[in-house]
């Protein structure tokens, strides 16, 4: 093929391309899908910093709670109240709890240390409660920790799932609240025994 022939054929191709329809109606109306997308309520953007602050708050709560519990337990009535025998109720067994908040966040070693400290203190305080109360509290603690374990398993599969992260954080808070309540119960027992 000569250059002239090639150029002529190129011209024919370009002319034919120019005749192709530029407007083609889609087989279905796309508007309902578009309308649904643009009128859907916007999901609130979760700021990374919010998560970081939430983690920091959780660590502070735990560290602060731990210190408070330590102060109350050690500085309070420890000398006036002999601890109940460990043989009066079932042995407490708690599952280890991870401090993971997805692929980008981690509560770190400080959290784990604070948590372990609280955990030890909780076991000590539980021993001071009456067997029935201790059993109830133990069930509640185990329920919460089972929930934490399951959420962590789910988070391992979906590390960036915001809902799971929030759920985990709120469950840690529940655990913290329970620990504080136990501390209150233990203190109450201490005061009654003092009388």
């Amino acid at each position: 093929m000569s250059d002239n022939e090639r150029n002529e054929f190129d011209d024919e191709i370009m002319q034919a391309a120019g005749k192709l329809a530029t407007a083609v109606a889609p087989a279905r109306d796309l508007w309902p899908g578009i309308e649904a997308a643009i009128t859907a309520p916007a999901r609130p953007q979760r700021s990374v910093w919010n998560s970081v602050w939430a983690q920091a708050a959780a660590v502070l709560l735990l560290v602060g709670g731990s210190s408070g519990l330590t102060y109350l337990a050690m500085g309070g009535a420890t000398s006036t109240l002999p601890p109940q025998s460990a043989g009066t109720g079932p042995q407490l067994v708690f599952e280890p709890v991870s401090g993971s908040f997805g692929s980008q966040y981690n509560l770190g070693s400080e959290f784990q240390v604070a948590h372990n400290e609280l955990d030890a203190k909780l076991a000590e305080q539980l021993r001071q409660l009456p067997p029935e109360t201790r059993s109830d509290v133990q069930k509640n603690v185990n329920t919460i920790r089972e929930a934490i374990r399951e959420i962590n398993i789910a988070l391992a599969a979906e590390p960036d799932n915001v809902l799971l992260q929030e759920l985990l954080l709120s469950t840690y808070r529940e655990e913290m609240d329970l620990m504080i309540k136990v501390d209150g119960l233990a203190s109450e027992v201490m005061r009654r025994n003092d009388i």
């Binding site: 370009m14 391309a17 005749k19 192709l20 109606a25 796309l30 578009i34 009128t39």
Partner: protein, 194 residues
Amino acid sequence: MATGSAFDEAPVVTDQAAIDESHWVERAKQADTAAFEKLYRRHVDKVYGLCLRMTGNAAEAEDCAQEAFIQAWTKLGKFRGDSSFATWIHRVAVNSVLGRMRKSRREQDRIRAVNEIAPARESIGDSGNLQDMEIAINELPSGARHVFVLHAVYGYSHDETGNMLGIAVGTSKAQLHRAKRLLSQQLKVANGEI
């Protein structure tokens, strides 16, 4: 060949229509979905047509067109009117197509599918039968196809084509040359010359 976009040159948009469109754009910027629907109704066929020619797949083209309008809604605040709304929504649609194709491995499947289902060809001849051309364009490699569709079919300049596809003007010209060579070969085969 082409020096401006087919939309900017298109005679279908009258002065009154342009005024209406400008009004709809302003209202849509204020989150008026009814105004945005009017823009959609006016432009959907050309946006879908572009998506269809770039992807070569009707379902994929529907998704791309839909995504383009959703993207346009969210980015409408950035539309300053430097170009026509039609050109702007085309750019959004091209980005939508390119984004989806980068993510998708269906391109290879598409090429195979086209080869499998392509009907027996008829000669283009002088009758104006463009079916062969349609099929031949579909069989082009994506880079050459995108340039050919934007430049030869939709009338964008090489500057505009390069800008929309994120490639250099020289690359756009080279891809067009490649597209023409490949089309030439395919159409000769179709015409029984080879």
